[in-house]
């Protein structure tokens, strides 16, 4: 079992975090968890186990009912609205449903994330084609999301998530809508991103992906962490 302490080696620390949506709906029940820099962590569990809520806490999309969430030394939920915007630029996010901007081309979807961070046009013109090449979408640069396959959409979402070189990449069930070949490809891309020094947090239901990664696996059930293993396997 990994030791979950707040220290300099950890980039993320959940300190006894609880989230209740109503009296009968406890989404997180006293979660304490640390994630180290450059670590690749997979979070598994049934639907409703609290995986997505945990990630929403980290992105400051939801406030905890009790407890604190730290990113480095910053208490995420003490940030004001403007600082939250700055803070989110340190985290890249990939979702199961891709959440691409339908009215923008592949290039524009990636460029938007850079523009939002205030990067200048020259940087954008250099970096966007390069990142799209990395995820093997160099030939679909001017296509709209509706013109891409599921795997291509997810690769585009990953390109958008990493283009600002975030410290942490969150992938919330990124392979949930994909076939086995695309699932394998996405898992390999995430591994590559972790190899170049980005902390990756992956939630998934896919046993094959977890077993092939051979990294830390956290198992959640009813809002609690019930298992936390280095080099873990998919066990529910």
């Amino acid at each position: 079992m990994k030791e979950n302490l707040k220290n300099d080696k950890n980039i993320i620390h959940f300190d006894n975090v609880k989230k209740m949506y109503s009296e009968n709906a406890m989404a997180l029940d006293g979660v304490t968890l640390s994630i180290g820099k450059n670590e690749f962590v997979s979070i598994v569990g049934h639907s409703g186990a609290g995986k997505t809520t945990l990630l929403k806490m980290l992105l400051a999309e939801e406030k905890p009912t009790d407890g604190k969430v730290y990113f480095d030394t910053t208490d995420v939920h003490s940030l004001n609205r403007k600082d939250i915007t700055q803070f989110r630029r340190k985290i890249g996010t990939v979702f199961q449903d891709f959440r691409l901007i339908p009215g923008k081309t592949a290039y524009e979807n990636v460029a938007f994330a850079m523009e939002a961070c205030g990067r200048d046009d020259r940087e954008i013109e250099l970096d966007v084609p390069h990142v799209l090449d990395l995820v093997d979408l160099g030939n679909k640069i001017w296509n709209f999301p509706s013109e891409l396959s599921g795997g291509e959409k997810q690769r585009l979402a990953i390109a958008r998530a990493i283009v600002n070189q975030p410290e942490v990449l969150i992938a919330d069930e990124p392979t949930g809508n994909l076939d086995p070949i695309n699932t394998y490809e996405i898992a390999q891309i995430l591994k590559k991103i972790n190899d170049i020094g980005t902390t990756v947090i992956l939630t998934t239901h896919n046993k094959g992906v977890i077993d092939s990664l051979n990294n830390r696996v956290i198992t959640m059930e009813n809002g609690k962490i019930i298992r936390d293993n280095e080099n873990g396997k998919y066990v529910i």
Binding site: K82, T85, R99, G103, A116, G118, R160
Partner: protein
């Protein structure tokens, strides 16, 4: 940084406007109809103003002087009346003009003309036709004249016909003021309905982009940067709709002109449209820009709370 962001916001506003084809078209259609209603209210206001103005113009009071009233006293009364703020105009008809008018009016009535010839002197006095700015002011003018005495202390006013026509004038005044209030009320109600329709249309258009807004927030875009293109898009809906409504008014006012002229008398909507084009243009475009921009600003706000 600020200019770079502003440039990007304007660019994306234009791109979204162009690419969101169906939403853009639907929004422009609804906004055109509502701006057309706002424009129509301007025309209705103008027609009512002109019709009421004409009715008001038909109301005047006549002041008849005694036949012995010296002309210089009458002239001096005229100039002092003209200085009163309530008075719009004073027309002086001398004794000679009065008899001439009388003869013209009765040129086919030989009996009256013969009777006039029998008289030694002109039996008619001079009179004033007075128009006030507001019909409600006639009473105070009439009372002032009734009590007027010339410099010598002799009364020169024989009769003021206001008191004979008082009931009719009072009735007309109340009708005019009711129509004024009613039309103002109707215009305000239609304005509110138009604003609500535009706000709702834009809200629906932005509802379709709520996911997009949440993604923009999650990739670290600030509120100003997320909201900007939507506000630009809203402003463009407003400008396009205002221009279409302005173009539509051209054939509509040509078609309506003879109808309104016959019905209301005098007010030609097409002439009004042509003569006041700049004013109508400014009102419609500014309304479109304001309603489109503010509606977008408010509608996006709801989805920025992430």
């Amino acid at each position: 940084m600020f200019w770079m962001n502003t440039k990007r916001i304007v660019k994306y506003g234009f791109i979204n406007f162009w690419r969101n084809g169906f939403v853009t078209l639907a929004s422009i259609l609804v906004m055109t109809v509502t701006l057309f209603v706002i424009g129509s209210l301007i025309f209705v206001g103008a027609i009512l103003d002109s019709s009421l103005g004409q009715i008001k113009n038909k109301v005047d009071i006549n002041v008849y002087f005694v036949t012995t009233a010296p002309e210089e006293d009458i002239i001096s009364l005229k100039s002092s009346l003209e200085q009163l703020p309530e008075i719009s105009s004073v027309e002086y008809v001398s004794r000679e003009q009065s008899i001439e008018e009388f003869k013209t009016r009765h040129e086919n009535d030989q009996l009256i003309l013969q009777a006039l010839q029998e008289l030694d002197d002109n039996p008619l006095g001079a009179h004033f036709n007075i128009r006030a700015k507001e019909t409600s002011q006639y009473e105070s003018i009439a009372t002032f004249l009734e009590n007027y005495q010339a410099s010598g202390g002799t009364p020169i006013v024989d009769k003021v016909n206001f008191f004979q026509n008082k009931v009719a004038i009072d009735k007309l005044s109340s009708v005019i003021s009711s129509v004024d209030k009613l039309s103002f009320g109707v215009i305000v109600v239609f304005m509110i309905i138009s604003i609500l329709i535009i706000f709702n249309t834009i809200r629906l258009a932005i509802y379709t982009s709520r996911e997009e807004i949440s993604v923009m927030k999650l990739v670290g875009a600030g509120n100003f940067y997320v909201r900007g293109p939507f506000v630009i898009e809203g402003i463009m809906y407003g400008v396009s709709s205002a221009l279409i409504a302005l173009v539509l008014f051209y054939p509509v006012t040509i078609w309506m002109a003879p109808l309104t002229e016959n019905f209301f008398g005098g007010a030609n909507v097409f002439n009004y449209y042509v003569n006041n084009f700049a004013q109508i243009f400014v009102v419609l475009v500014l309304s479109g820009v304001f309603l489109g921009g503010v509606s977008s600003y408010l509608a996006v706000k709801k989805y920025l709370k992430i």
